[in-house]
Amino acid sequence: MLELIKIETFKIAAKPRSYIGFAAVTAIVVLIQLALYADGQSYLDFLIQSLNQTFEIEGIGFNGNMVGFIILQTLIIQMPLLVALVSGDAISGEMQGGTIRGLLTKPVSRSRILWAKFAASELYTFLLVLWLGVLAWLGSLLLFGEGDLVVLKSDSLVIVRSADTAWRFMSAFVLAFVSLSVVVSLSFLLSAMSENSIAPIIITMSIILLFTIIGTFDIPIFNKIKPWLFTTHMIVWRNFFDRPLPMNQILTSLSVMLFHIAAFLTLTHVYFNKKDITQ
């Protein structure tokens, strides 16, 4: 199995599209960091102007933790597209290129091929999140220095002491990885069903967009289904920067996301094992 995972990882590494994610993350993070480095205080003033009407706020300055948090909040929206670029291509890319015939006539079961591909896609996602973490958080700490993290909410603000931020960031990245794994498993299912590699990516993003739109409307019928939509839970990483920590909410969201991953993978497994390769 390890050999198969190595092969699939090598295939991902050999494709130019696999580097789009890393290039995009690097470009966006560096751009935001430079912009905030140049004129961060006016951006911060703009953010806290509504709170200034209620409270007298002093001594809030930019630091690495705050920049890391802002970048994470901004970039996490684009991450699903970047991971779907690779995971959506995992099976459909072999279909489109015709290499699926050679792959499935090797003495390896379809299930093992499927799991190796999923593991390689997960490894890619992990590295992308890790790269985001290194660049956005550790990079910002180097550039802006340490300091307390001030999380601005619509009606309040939460101050997290500098010494208390490391585990919160790391937990947030782990949860962000899990939420991206839902995207990986969804695009994986669509990849197994498609014979070209663009359709799974577009459909994955369309589903995320649709569910996100449903999530923004406060309509009773939508409110009933919202708790079951994986997109509702994909932003749960933010809860790690809340006080007190809403552990029940985090665990519920984690369970819903793990359920989605399991469901998408089971469907992929059943579909892929029964699929006739006629092309």
Partner: protein
């Protein structure tokens, strides 16, 4: 003497796609060490049969035996003994030929040395292109690389589905030479499916013709194309009258096609002088008698019979 056990036997293979019966009780038998031509028109069921055999498509029913032992389609230990190219060999284009070979070999649990892979490239004449990206290869070169990939794990059985697709004449000759070499020097059994009958006629020791998912003929190529059962094409102004005379003398004559000025009958080579004498006695004008016996004729004859048979049911 006991008949040798075929390396591969397929019995009563069936597959339906929706309302279309792609395979309708297909049978075939391949002997060890031979080149086996698997013939049929486009859509006859050749690719479906091969895909069923290799596990790419799940058949609805049927039996497959490998070396006399029953196997499931796509069974792992069977696939370990098979090297194949389905329709056209496809590779990871941005990777080199050597890297593609390595990936394929690793799927068989092998870790071939550079020398072993280079040896394969020498066999197919690509020894100078090993480090080049496959996307720079011509179709013929990809076909040859496909054969190298199919051979790398030393399979006993090689299955090539339409291997001459997209090849230029030189590519076809190269491929033919490689296949002969594989049979004579390495003792491989090769199944080659094609609708290019002249290719198969030059290569195959035995063949099977399928139509509408059914086997309509199978046998030894030399025996089928021997001097027995030759097709004689007789050119005349009066095909209907001549056909009637020949039928009355007990000969098997195909009904003349409307507007045609020739008739076709089946006879052994030794009977030709007697037929000539008979034709002279009829007094009808005969301009030529052409013996024809090529796989192409046999194929047309059998598929037309199959069409007529299908039409009557």
């Amino acid at each position: 003497m006991q008949k040798p056990i075929p390396i591969l036997e397929i019995e009563n293979l069936r597959k339906r796609f929706g309302g279309f019966q792609a395979l309708d009780g297909l049978n075939l038998s391949v002997q060890r060490g031979e080149i086996f031509g698997f013939l049929g028109s486009n859509g006859a069921g050749k690719s479906t049969t091969i895909r069923c055999l290799l596990g790419l498509i799940a058949p609805d029913s049927g039996n497959i035996r490998f070396r006399g032992e029953p196997i499931r389609p796509g069974q792992r230990d069977f696939l370990r003994q098979v090297g194949c190219i389905i329709e056209k060999p496809d590779f990871y284009g941005s990777l080199s030929a050597l890297r593609n070979l390595e990936i394929s070999a690793r799927m068989y649990g092998m870790k071939p040395s550079s020398a072993e892979m280079q040896e394969m490239l020498v066999l197919v004449g690509l020894e100078t292109r090993g480090n080049d990206a496959v996307k720079t290869f011509s179709q013929g070169m990809k076909q040859r690389l496909g054969i190298a990939q199919a051979l790398l794990h030393q399979p006993e059985l090689i299955i090539l589905d339409e291997p001459t697709n997209g090849l230029d004449p030189k590519g076809m000759i190269d491929l033919r030479n490689i296949l002969r070499q594989l049979k004579t020097e390495l003792g491989k059994t090769i199944i080659i499916s094609s609708h290019i009958l002249s290719e198969i006629e030059q290569l195959a020791d035995s063949f099977c013709i399928i139509d509408h998912g059914k086997t309509i003929a199978q046998g030894n190529t030399a025996e089928w194309l021997s001097e027995k059962n030759m097709l004689l094409s007789i050119e005349t102004d009066q095909p209907d009258a001549l056909a009637e005379h020949l039928r009355q003398s007990g000969r098997s004559v195909e009904a003349p096609k409307p507007g045609s000025n020739s008739i076709t009958l089946t006879a052994d080579r030794s009977e030709i002088p007697e037929i000539q004498r008979f034709l002279a006695q009829t007094g009808l004008p005969v301009y030529s008698i052409s013996p024809r016996k090529r796989l192409e004729d046999l194929f047309l004859q059998l598929t037309e019979q199959s069409e007529r048979h299908a039409g009557t049911h």
